[in-house]
Protein backbone atom coordinates (compact mmCIF):
# COMPACT_ATOMS: atom_id res chain seq x y z
CA UNK A 1 0.00 0.00 0.00
CA UNK A 2 2.84 2.36 0.95
CA UNK A 3 4.68 1.56 -2.26
CA UNK A 4 1.53 2.16 -4.33
CA UNK A 5 1.18 5.57 -2.65
CA UNK A 6 4.81 6.40 -3.48
CA UNK A 7 4.23 5.31 -7.10
CA UNK A 8 1.08 7.42 -7.37
CA UNK A 9 2.76 10.57 -6.03
CA UNK A 10 5.86 10.09 -8.17
CA UNK A 11 3.69 9.50 -11.26
CA UNK A 12 1.54 12.53 -10.50
CA UNK A 13 4.55 14.85 -10.06
CA UNK A 14 6.08 13.38 -13.24
CA UNK A 15 2.85 13.98 -15.19
CA UNK A 16 2.56 17.58 -13.96
CA UNK A 17 6.22 18.15 -14.88
CA UNK A 18 5.73 16.79 -18.40
CA UNK A 19 2.64 19.01 -18.82
CA UNK A 20 4.36 22.21 -17.66
CA UNK A 21 7.34 21.37 -19.84
CA UNK A 22 5.18 21.09 -22.94
CA UNK A 23 6.21 17.47 -23.50
CA UNK A 24 2.58 16.34 -23.85
CA UNK A 25 2.42 18.30 -27.10
CA UNK A 26 4.13 16.29 -29.87
CA UNK A 27 4.45 19.47 -31.98
CA UNK A 28 6.83 20.92 -29.36
CA UNK A 29 8.85 17.69 -29.17
CA UNK A 30 9.15 17.46 -32.96
CA UNK A 31 10.03 21.17 -32.98
CA UNK A 32 13.03 20.30 -30.79
CA UNK A 33 14.07 17.45 -33.07
CA UNK A 34 13.78 19.68 -36.17
CA UNK A 35 17.19 21.36 -36.01
CA UNK A 36 17.07 22.31 -39.70
CA UNK A 37 13.67 23.98 -39.34
CA UNK A 38 12.18 26.40 -36.82
CA UNK A 39 14.10 24.86 -33.91
CA UNK A 40 12.32 24.94 -30.53
CA UNK A 41 14.78 24.35 -27.66
CA UNK A 42 12.06 23.80 -25.04
CA UNK A 43 12.86 20.09 -24.53
CA UNK A 44 16.45 20.97 -23.65
CA UNK A 45 15.20 23.10 -20.73
CA UNK A 46 13.08 20.18 -19.49
CA UNK A 47 16.08 17.86 -19.67
CA UNK A 48 18.30 20.42 -17.91
CA UNK A 49 15.81 20.95 -15.06
CA UNK A 50 15.38 17.20 -14.67
CA UNK A 51 19.07 16.32 -14.68
CA UNK A 52 20.04 19.12 -12.26
CA UNK A 53 17.46 18.09 -9.64
CA UNK A 54 18.06 14.35 -10.09
CA UNK A 55 21.87 14.74 -10.02
CA UNK A 56 21.72 16.55 -6.68
CA UNK A 57 18.88 14.45 -5.25
CA UNK A 58 20.51 11.10 -6.07
CA UNK A 59 23.70 12.19 -4.32
CA UNK A 60 21.79 13.14 -1.17
CA UNK A 61 19.93 9.81 -1.25
CA UNK A 62 23.16 7.84 -1.76
CA UNK A 63 24.18 8.73 1.81
CA UNK A 64 21.34 6.58 3.12
CA UNK A 65 21.76 2.81 3.46
CA UNK A 66 18.39 1.96 1.89
CA UNK A 67 15.28 3.63 0.48
CA UNK A 68 12.72 4.75 3.05
CA UNK A 69 10.07 2.19 2.09
CA UNK A 70 12.16 -0.40 0.25
CA UNK A 71 14.83 -2.99 0.99
CA UNK A 72 17.54 -1.71 -1.31
CA UNK A 73 18.34 0.64 -4.17
CA UNK A 74 17.69 -1.30 -7.39
CA UNK A 75 20.39 0.02 -9.70
CA UNK A 76 21.08 -1.06 -13.30
CA UNK A 77 23.55 -3.92 -13.33
CA UNK A 78 24.74 -3.79 -16.95
CA UNK A 79 27.91 -1.84 -17.72
CA UNK A 80 28.78 -2.81 -21.29
CA UNK A 81 27.81 -0.57 -24.18
CA UNK A 82 26.56 -3.39 -26.40
CA UNK A 83 24.58 -3.90 -29.58
CA UNK A 84 21.13 -4.27 -27.93
CA UNK A 85 21.63 -0.95 -26.12
CA UNK A 86 22.69 0.96 -29.23
CA UNK A 87 20.30 -0.84 -31.60
CA UNK A 88 17.40 -0.34 -29.21
CA UNK A 89 18.21 3.36 -28.79
CA UNK A 90 18.37 3.70 -32.59
CA UNK A 91 14.95 2.06 -33.08
CA UNK A 92 13.47 4.10 -30.24
CA UNK A 93 14.87 7.35 -31.65
CA UNK A 94 13.35 6.66 -35.08
CA UNK A 95 9.91 6.02 -33.55
CA UNK A 96 10.26 9.12 -31.37
CA UNK A 97 11.12 11.26 -34.41
CA UNK A 98 8.22 9.86 -36.44
CA UNK A 99 5.41 10.74 -34.01
CA UNK A 100 6.95 13.00 -31.32
CA UNK A 101 6.05 10.68 -28.44
CA UNK A 102 8.34 8.91 -26.02
CA UNK A 103 6.77 6.59 -23.40
CA UNK A 104 6.11 9.10 -20.58
CA UNK A 105 4.35 11.80 -22.61
CA UNK A 106 2.40 9.18 -24.59
CA UNK A 107 0.91 7.67 -21.43
CA UNK A 108 0.29 11.08 -19.81
CA UNK A 109 -1.51 12.16 -23.01
CA UNK A 110 -4.08 9.38 -22.47
CA UNK A 111 -5.66 11.94 -20.11
CA UNK A 112 -7.06 13.69 -23.17
CA UNK A 113 -10.15 12.35 -24.89
CA UNK A 114 -8.52 13.13 -28.23
CA UNK A 115 -7.99 9.78 -29.92
CA UNK A 116 -4.88 8.70 -31.70
CA UNK A 117 -2.45 8.63 -28.82
CA UNK A 118 -4.20 5.49 -27.51
CA UNK A 119 -3.21 3.79 -30.78
CA UNK A 120 0.40 4.78 -30.13
CA UNK A 121 0.29 3.44 -26.54
CA UNK A 122 -1.29 0.10 -27.55
CA UNK A 123 1.30 -0.33 -30.32
CA UNK A 124 4.06 0.60 -27.86
CA UNK A 125 2.91 -2.06 -25.39
CA UNK A 126 2.79 -4.58 -28.26
CA UNK A 127 6.35 -3.66 -29.26
CA UNK A 128 7.51 -4.05 -25.65
CA UNK A 129 5.78 -7.41 -25.30
CA UNK A 130 7.23 -8.67 -28.59
CA UNK A 131 10.83 -7.96 -27.54
CA UNK A 132 10.22 -9.40 -24.07
CA UNK A 133 8.89 -12.63 -25.59
CA UNK A 134 11.81 -12.90 -28.02
CA UNK A 135 14.32 -12.24 -25.24
CA UNK A 136 12.66 -14.43 -22.60
CA UNK A 137 14.83 -17.31 -21.28
CA UNK A 138 12.40 -19.95 -22.63
CA UNK A 139 13.00 -18.78 -26.18
CA UNK A 140 16.78 -18.97 -25.75
CA UNK A 141 17.66 -22.59 -25.17
CA UNK A 142 21.40 -22.11 -25.53
CA UNK A 143 21.81 -20.17 -22.29
CA UNK A 144 19.25 -21.45 -19.79
CA UNK A 145 21.06 -20.12 -16.73
CA UNK A 146 21.54 -16.58 -18.01
CA UNK A 147 20.15 -13.95 -15.66
CA UNK A 148 18.62 -10.99 -17.51
CA UNK A 149 20.28 -7.69 -16.64
CA UNK A 150 18.21 -5.13 -14.79
CA UNK A 151 16.93 -2.39 -17.08
CA UNK A 152 18.61 0.99 -16.98
CA UNK A 153 15.36 2.85 -16.85
Amino acid sequence: MRSAFAGLIAGLVFGIGLSLGGMTDPAIVLGFLDIAGAWNPQLAFVMAGGVIVTFIGYRLIARRPAPLWGERFVMPSATRIDAPLLGGALVFGIGWGLAGYCPGPAIASLASARGGVAVFVIAMLAGMAAVKIIRSPSSRQSKPTEVPAAADG
Partner: protein, 136 residues
Protein backbone atom coordinates in the same frame (compact mmCIF):
# COMPACT_ATOMS: atom_id res chain seq x y z
CA UNK B 1 5.36 32.77 -17.68
CA UNK B 2 7.88 32.19 -20.47
CA UNK B 3 7.61 28.67 -21.90
CA UNK B 4 11.33 28.04 -21.36
CA UNK B 5 11.06 28.93 -17.66
CA UNK B 6 7.98 26.70 -17.36
CA UNK B 7 9.94 23.96 -19.13
CA UNK B 8 12.78 24.31 -16.62
CA UNK B 9 10.27 24.07 -13.74
CA UNK B 10 8.54 21.13 -15.42
CA UNK B 11 11.89 19.39 -15.82
CA UNK B 12 12.68 20.06 -12.15
CA UNK B 13 9.38 18.38 -11.20
CA UNK B 14 10.33 15.35 -13.30
CA UNK B 15 13.62 15.33 -11.39
CA UNK B 16 11.72 15.56 -8.10
CA UNK B 17 9.65 12.56 -9.18
CA UNK B 18 12.84 10.60 -9.94
CA UNK B 19 14.28 11.55 -6.52
CA UNK B 20 11.03 10.55 -4.77
CA UNK B 21 10.95 7.16 -6.48
CA UNK B 22 14.60 6.46 -5.62
CA UNK B 23 14.36 7.80 -2.06
CA UNK B 24 11.12 6.02 -1.21
CA UNK B 25 11.24 2.77 -3.21
CA UNK B 26 14.83 2.62 -4.48
CA UNK B 27 13.74 2.52 -8.12
CA UNK B 28 14.83 4.34 -11.27
CA UNK B 29 12.10 6.60 -12.72
CA UNK B 30 12.26 5.22 -16.24
CA UNK B 31 8.79 5.22 -17.74
CA UNK B 32 9.49 2.47 -20.30
CA UNK B 33 10.88 0.24 -17.54
CA UNK B 34 8.03 0.98 -15.14
CA UNK B 35 5.34 0.37 -17.78
CA UNK B 36 7.16 -2.57 -19.38
CA UNK B 37 7.24 -4.22 -15.96
CA UNK B 38 3.44 -4.30 -15.99
CA UNK B 39 3.50 -6.72 -18.92
CA UNK B 40 3.57 -10.45 -18.10
CA UNK B 41 5.27 -11.75 -16.06
CA UNK B 42 4.46 -8.55 -14.16
CA UNK B 43 6.36 -7.85 -10.96
CA UNK B 44 5.68 -5.05 -8.43
CA UNK B 45 2.33 -4.46 -10.07
CA UNK B 46 1.09 -2.15 -7.30
CA UNK B 47 3.49 0.78 -7.46
CA UNK B 48 3.97 0.48 -11.23
CA UNK B 49 0.24 0.75 -12.00
CA UNK B 50 -0.11 3.52 -9.40
CA UNK B 51 2.69 5.42 -11.17
CA UNK B 52 0.85 5.06 -14.50
CA UNK B 53 -2.39 6.35 -12.95
CA UNK B 54 -0.53 9.32 -11.45
CA UNK B 55 1.14 10.01 -14.80
CA UNK B 56 -2.27 10.25 -16.50
CA UNK B 57 -3.70 12.31 -13.60
CA UNK B 58 -0.89 14.89 -13.88
CA UNK B 59 -2.22 16.69 -16.98
CA UNK B 60 -5.74 16.60 -15.47
CA UNK B 61 -4.45 18.47 -12.41
CA UNK B 62 -2.82 21.04 -14.69
CA UNK B 63 -6.10 21.51 -16.60
CA UNK B 64 -8.05 21.86 -13.34
CA UNK B 65 -5.69 24.54 -12.02
CA UNK B 66 -4.88 26.49 -15.17
CA UNK B 67 -7.98 25.85 -17.27
CA UNK B 68 -5.76 25.10 -20.25
CA UNK B 69 -5.08 21.57 -21.51
CA UNK B 70 -1.35 20.88 -21.90
CA UNK B 71 -2.07 17.95 -24.20
CA UNK B 72 -1.52 18.58 -27.88
CA UNK B 73 -3.20 16.53 -30.58
CA UNK B 74 -1.13 13.91 -32.43
CA UNK B 75 0.48 15.46 -35.52
CA UNK B 76 0.69 12.33 -37.67
CA UNK B 77 -1.81 9.83 -39.10
CA UNK B 78 -3.13 6.87 -37.11
CA UNK B 79 -1.14 4.24 -39.11
CA UNK B 80 2.05 6.23 -38.53
CA UNK B 81 1.20 6.51 -34.81
CA UNK B 82 0.88 2.72 -34.69
CA UNK B 83 4.20 2.17 -36.47
CA UNK B 84 5.99 4.72 -34.31
CA UNK B 85 4.51 3.16 -31.16
CA UNK B 86 5.82 -0.27 -32.16
CA UNK B 87 9.32 1.14 -32.72
CA UNK B 88 9.29 3.06 -29.42
CA UNK B 89 8.08 0.01 -27.48
CA UNK B 90 10.51 -2.44 -29.06
CA UNK B 91 13.42 0.02 -28.98
CA UNK B 92 13.04 0.98 -25.33
CA UNK B 93 12.89 -2.65 -24.14
CA UNK B 94 15.83 -3.66 -26.34
CA UNK B 95 17.80 -0.55 -25.32
CA UNK B 96 16.78 -0.85 -21.63
CA UNK B 97 15.34 2.65 -21.31
CA UNK B 98 13.90 5.82 -22.75
CA UNK B 99 14.14 9.59 -22.38
CA UNK B 100 13.47 9.43 -18.63
CA UNK B 101 15.41 6.29 -17.61
CA UNK B 102 18.50 6.99 -19.74
CA UNK B 103 18.02 10.73 -20.24
CA UNK B 104 17.14 12.01 -16.76
CA UNK B 105 18.15 9.21 -14.38
CA UNK B 106 21.04 7.68 -16.33
CA UNK B 107 22.76 10.98 -17.13
CA UNK B 108 22.36 12.02 -13.46
CA UNK B 109 24.13 8.79 -12.44
CA UNK B 110 26.85 9.59 -15.01
CA UNK B 111 26.20 6.17 -16.58
CA UNK B 112 28.29 5.60 -19.73
CA UNK B 113 25.58 3.25 -21.09
CA UNK B 114 22.92 5.92 -20.69
CA UNK B 115 25.15 8.59 -22.23
CA UNK B 116 25.66 6.35 -25.27
CA UNK B 117 21.93 5.57 -25.49
CA UNK B 118 20.96 9.25 -25.24
CA UNK B 119 23.47 10.19 -27.95
CA UNK B 120 22.07 7.49 -30.26
CA UNK B 121 18.35 8.13 -29.73
CA UNK B 122 18.79 11.90 -29.97
CA UNK B 123 20.77 11.52 -33.20
CA UNK B 124 18.16 9.09 -34.56
CA UNK B 125 15.36 11.49 -33.62
CA UNK B 126 17.12 14.45 -35.28
CA UNK B 127 17.86 12.39 -38.40
CA UNK B 128 14.31 11.03 -38.64
CA UNK B 129 12.71 14.47 -38.41
CA UNK B 130 15.24 15.85 -40.88
CA UNK B 131 14.41 13.13 -43.41
CA UNK B 132 10.64 13.37 -42.90
CA UNK B 133 10.43 17.19 -42.99
CA UNK B 134 13.22 18.24 -45.31
CA UNK B 135 13.92 15.36 -47.70
CA UNK B 136 10.82 13.19 -48.24
Amino acid sequence: MHPYLLALIGGALIGLSAVLLMGLLGRIAGVSGIIGGLLPPGRDWGWRSAFAIGLIAGPLVVVAVSGVSPIGAPVVSVPLLAGAGLLVGAGTVLGSGCTSGHGICGLSRLSPRSLAAVAVFMAAGFATVFIVRHIV
